[in-house]
Amino acid sequence: MDLTIKQLQQRLEAQGYICDQDLVITLYLSLKLAKPLLVEGAPGVGKTEVAKALAGALNTELIRLQCYEGLDENRALYEWNYQRQLLKIEIARGSCDPAALEKDLFDVEYLLERPLLKAIRAEKRVVLLIDEIDKTDPEFEAFLFEMLSDFQVSIPELGTLKAKQIPAVVLTSNGERELSDGLKRRCVYLYIDYPTVEKEVRILQVKVPQAQEELVRQVVRAVHFIRSHLNLKKKPSIAETLDWTRALVALHADALTPEILGQTLSLFLKNRDDQETLKREVGLSGLVEQIRGVKDDSSGPAGATCHCGHHQR
């Protein structure tokens, strides 16, 4: 499918994924250059969503490989169905030629496809999400090189399998481990930062349409103020802003008050120390005053600044 940059952006937005030019162009280049896309950014800024939205935009299947420590090629690529092979041996015992039987046993029908092989063998171009690649061991990362640069895998018994359609690959990383230069070189890189006020308002409006506009603006201002003014262990991300807004809608809140902030604090600050920091440094009433006193600043990320002159830190 040959899409222009504009068409791709429109399709992503139709999937409910609000994105800026940088992201669309990077995604576009990754598709055009047939290179995997490596997405980095703080947890909850929408890295995994990129792959989901892309699959939706391309109207294709999303195949996900969730990475974890100790993940090996058996679980990522393929495995022989040993049980079935053994049953076949039992059934065929004495009734056929052993050499022919052995040849049969290592046939595609005894192959258990894992996500990578599934993506390679798919008839239609799929989106392959390799989520949290930084959680795997470096050996697994090296194993991915062949797959990511040549879109082929080697199975000793069957030979090399080339991709029928080159999949659109999205790798995500939380930066827990520095990825190798080899992997980075093979990828197009995208860093997703916290969004601007205006962008986050748009995201909330799309994802939580039930929330009133004024509430949405207050939530976004509050979150931006917290991100930019407090030294926290874990800054609230978009995922947390969404959860918080949904909770506020469920509580029928139409504006932020110190009481409602207190009740819903744990939805956007998921660390006790961070909650204490907010209460100590700004206070719940202080935060409400801050967000009522500011104007939206969409020029940059985390741009909520108090202009009222009463709330100097």
Partner: protein, 468 residues
């Protein structure tokens, strides 16, 4: 003049190439490399290909395309953005910059000539045969006017003493004063002065402008300043932010190290014995397979921190690092040393915060602020704590290597090295000063030593060396 056809052709192609896409892209990648971004040939080719896929008249698209293929981590992103904004500018802006640069160069030349003249004048009554280096002249030019006057006045006062022609001596005095000022300017004005006095540029003016401009802009950002700042220069106002960042780093390291080496369940080899036993119910046919999994042991972490007087300047870093690492992972053994060695592990076994733990530790310890004798400290370690060492032990030493008897210490260190997996040495002294530290040369054969005086260093070491 006769010009051969090859030279003419090359000149023509070069002339045409000045403003081509290739030429600009190559120069831009060259700038990025000079600013520390690793751009390989393959990436440069990707960049060229990416440019053919976007609208070249759209600045935004070109920037996004180059950013996507040339930059591969978040911290380089900012450098890329600044470089792009400074490199790809309209011709009028380029012309304006050229004029500005010429003015600045002229100004600088005049200032240096003036400084040289003043220095020579001050020494003119004597035949000193001392030629001031460009560095010394530059230092003199950067000194405050009042201090310049004071220095030349001091030298002038020596005119009255013609005994034994003290010209050479006076010139040396002058050079020492300039050396002191150079050191002082570097210390007090930090990175900014360092860059001005020790700029590493390409030699091509237009590219150097971009590089210098990006470096200046980059270090203007308070967060980056903090990240790259020498730890001894962290202002009190930034201390909280610094502490938090350091805490995050050490906790991250501790978590990673302890998590990474848990027993892995990966399938390795078929365990025949267990497989047969498990399949007795199926008449011996191995329908359910059992695997042997390789057990991986966590490395035993051992932290040895220098808390002697010479390390006082780095106290903030050392304290935070010991606390962060030791309290985040319960099984890290921690030691402090100066004249001797003390085990401080028990202080971190409680759940107290940074201030109570460190107050108690500093009060109870007899090592803080003493002279350093790492040799004795290591001997004590071998005598009492040798049993903690295994082939799996990873030793992290934080010290400036300034100890008495470095050669004897090196022998002890060699003995330690034989019993452990690896020794990582975090040295807060800048690498440039290492050649003057006898300890560094003596210890290097046994340890992997890293320059570590800023958060940026620490982060890079953690990521590239310890967590690899």
């Amino acid at each position: 003049m006769e010009i051969d056809p090859v030279t003419r052709a090359v000149a023509r192609v070069e002339g045409q190439g000045e403003n081509t896409l290739h030429h600009n892209l190559v120069r831009f990648t060259h700038i990025l490399r000079h600013l520390g971004i690793r751009v390989s040939m393959a990436e440069a080719l990707d960049a060229y290909q990416a440019l053919t896929l976007v609208d070249l008249t759209s600045r935004e698209q070109v920037k996004a395309a180059l950013g996507a293929v040339l930059v591969k981590n978040a911290s380089d992103r900012q450098i890329f953005n600044l470089s792009f904004d400074r490199f790809f500018v309209p011709p009028e802006e380029k012309k304006r910059r050229r004029m500005l640069r010429k003015q600045l160069e002229e100004e600088e030349r005049r200032r240096l000539a003036e400084a040289r003249e003043k220095l020579n004048q001050a020494l003119s009554p004597w035949s000193t045969e001392v030629n001031f280096s460009p560095e010394e002249i530059q230092t003199f030019a950067r000194m405050p006017a009042r201090e310049q006057r004071r220095l030349t006045e001091l030298i002038r006062q020596m005119h009255g003493n013609p005994v034994n022609s003290p010209g050479h001596l006076i010139a040396r005095v002058m050079q020492s004063a300039l050396n002191y000022w150079r050191y002082y300017l570097l210390k007090t004005q930090g990175e900014e002065a360092r860059r001005q006095l020790e700029a590493e540029l390409t030699g091509e003016t237009e590219m150097d402008d971009v590089i210098a401009g990006v470096a200046a802009d980059f270090y203007r950002d308070p967060d980056d300043q903090l990240l790259h700042q020498d730890m001894q220069q962290v202002a009190d106002a930034d201390l909280e932010k610094f502490t938090l960042a350091l805490e995050r780093l050490s906790t991250h390291l501790a978590n990673r190290l302890s998590r990474r080496y848990r027993k892995s369940n990966r399938r390795q080899k078929l365990d025949m014995r267990r497989t047969i036993r498990r399949n007795i119910a199926f008449g011996g046919s191995p329908l359910k397979l059992c695997y042997r999994s390789r057990r991986r042991h966590r490395p035993r972490l051992l932290l040895i921190c220098d808390v002697s007087a010479s390390m006082a300047r780095y106290a903030r870093f050392v304290l935070q690092f010991i606390y962060g690492l030791s309290s985040a992972a319960q099984d890290i053994e921690s030691f402090v040393f100066s004249e001797d060695l003390e085990r401080v592990t028990p202080y971190f076994r409680r759940d107290d915060g940074f201030v109570p733990v460190m107050t108690e530790l500093v009060n109870a310890s007899r090592q803080w602020g003493k002279t350093t004798d790492f040799n004795v400290a290591l001997k004590t370690f071998h005598r009492h704590w040798r049993h903690l060492l295994t082939g799996d032990t990873l030793v992290i030493i934080v010290s400036d290597t300034k100890t008495v008897a470095p050669q004897e210490t090196a022998r002890e260190l060699a003995a330690l090295r034989e019993r452990v997996r690896e020794i990582l040495w975090l040295n807060p002294v800048p690498r440039k000063q290492w050649p003057y530290l006898p300890g560094v040369n003596a210890f290097l054969p046994y340890v992997r030593m890293f320059e570590c005086y800023s958060l940026h260093h620490l982060e890079a070491i953690l990521h590239r060396q310890m967590l690899k």
